[in-house]
Amino acid sequence: MSQAALPDGTRFVLPDNASRRAELRGALRELYQRWGYDLVELPSLERYDPAHPRASQSFKLADRDSSVLSLRADFTPALAHLVRAAHPAVAGGARRPLRYQYAGTVWHAINPELARTREFTQVGIELIGVSNARADAELIHLARESVRTVGLDPRVEVGNPGFVRAAFEAAEVPLALRDAVADAIDRKDRSDLSRLLEPLELSRESTDGLLSIPDLYGGAEVLERARADLPWPRTARELERLEGVLAEFEDASELMLDLSMARRLSYYTGVTFRAYTPDFGQPLLGGGRYDGALLPAAAGFSLGLERLLRAVARRRSATEPDPLVLALDDGAARRLRKAGVRVLRSLERDAEAARLEARELGVPFLLVGGRIEPLDPHGGDARNVQPLQALLDGAPEASA
């Protein structure tokens, strides 16, 4: 058998990790289910579409008829496809809320630089068919709950790329320069920003307004500062949109605002948000509203399971492994499993060989002839024999 290296940016997930991943996925699936988000499955193979938001990052494959397919790089286009097929009225603009959740592998054909893999698992939800402040607030709330559900302390920052777009319109920033200016704003790089704006000879008010955007982050007071620094009707409308969303929260002080969030300006049309947790330097999830990009009204978020797991692992000390029993006695083993104990079936014929087998596997207990036997009678494991034995003796006789 060959021992060729794995393709760049892919990896094995070993048992410990795999079960923790399944746990996280399960906890999130349940959360979204309780909020009425129905699970859907989507194909991993898609028709290659150069207009796909992640077209340049997708792996391409040739189909039998030599048409080009791509591996799923993002769930949202496939989900939009599903909505167009299953709910053409909603795809045509009818107002009706559809709530979906998804989880699965996505592939990015990138240079696997800086802690990024090329094959990873995304979990996310989409709220389609309604575009208003209550829908936005529901997603922001669930972003926060997602972080809380996995046992972390959530911090959610909310922005509105529409604000930056409105500022560009009001200040008449030339179209050709908008990407570069948005990038400088998003990096909060006032030095670059002023260098870009200088040759444009905008009005003093416009230049000062744009220069103030990188610092418009913080609590609710940011909205007041934004009104003072950018006194234009267009930008004021975008601030009102954001205020409408904040008004949906009993305590909006838990949210952080950042009006300089200006990534993917042409994609996101309404609020965008990211969730963090203290002492973990990377966002855990991100999303926003993208009305008109794929569907008339759609918003959602996704999180990377690998990163979430890293954040969770930092907080949790190594968990005590479940007691594990190696059994020669199939009937008693069934009773123990029913009681929730992990029981391996011995592949040997007699107790002596099974003892050796258990030592080799690192299993602390042997079940033979209805009795639990610790493999190291002087070790700490001996103390746990009683509870296991009690479980075995107290459990009703398995019928199967």
């Binding site: 800086l114 802690a115 911090r155 920052e157 990096r187 909060k188 790089d189 006032r190 030095s191 670059d192 002023s194 990188p214 610092d215 982050y217 913080g218 952080m256 950042d258 963090y276 203290p278 002492d279 973990f280 330097g281 990377q282 966002p283 930092r314």
Partner: protein, 211 residues
């Protein structure tokens, strides 16, 4: 990955080794941080009072800050542009100013076939912009040597005064970008530690030469 408990709450700063270190410490002190001088020995991570300072190569600073091991750091804009880092860059500190330039032997003419550089990404982007089909060779050491020895017929590198170039019979033929030291901040830390970082950013912007 997590810091020892005694350090909890302290800002972690990633600073480059070498010449820029002293200027960086001076700037941060000017920004109001009380930072002690580096202790005896060669500890790579030390408690400097108001912050934990970790010392590293220039090119590693963006990685430490982007992944959140450090909350903030100081690094040249040339490095940030080359690595295309996802960081907040709220202050241009002004020092360590230099140009990233295309350099050729004095008087050289004709098409460029091969360019040696420590900045392959910026170089490839520049060559694409000017429509050159030259190949890019990535080196890690002194790239001027590539030009002098004929490994390449041009180099892309940072230039401060240009004296070294002239001494070696080389000249700048085009300026690709301007660089200076930047105060960079992890995007999560900027939000989660803003009570500390915001006043620091404000104070750093007020330093002479900064913006």
């Amino acid at each position: 990955m997590s810091a020892p408990a005694a350090d909890a709450g302290k800002l972690v700063l990633a600073l480059p080794k070498g010449r820029v270190m002293q200027a960086s410490l001076q700037a941060l002190r000017g920004g109001g941080l009380h930072l002690t001088a580096h202790g005896p020995g060669r500890a790579l991570r030390h408690d400097a009072g108001d912050a934990i300072v970790i010392e590293m190569r220039n090119g590693d600073v963006p990685t430490y800050v982007e992944l959140g091991v450090a909350d903030a750091g100081i690094v040249g804009k040339d490095v940030l542009m080359e690595q295309n880092s996802q960081l907040a860059e709220p202050v241009d500190l002004g020092f360590a100013a230099c140009r990233l330039s295309l350099i050729r032997p004095i008087g050289a003419a004709g098409t460029i076939e091969r360019v040696a550089t420590k900045y392959p990404r910026l170089t490839a982007a520049y060559l694409g912009r000017v429509g050159s089909g030259a190949e890019v060779v990535t080196l890690t050491g002194n790239v001027e040597l590539a030009c002098i020895t004929g490994l390449s017929d041009a180099v892309v590198d940072v230039v401060q005064t240009g004296d070294t170039l002239r001494d070696n019979g080389l000249e700048e033929v085009d300026v690709i970008a301007h660089s200076s030291a930047r105060f960079v901040v992890n995007r999560a830390s900027l939000k989660l530690r803003s009570p500390v970082l915001r006043p620091l950013i404000e104070a750093l912007r007020r330093l002479p030469g900064a913006r």
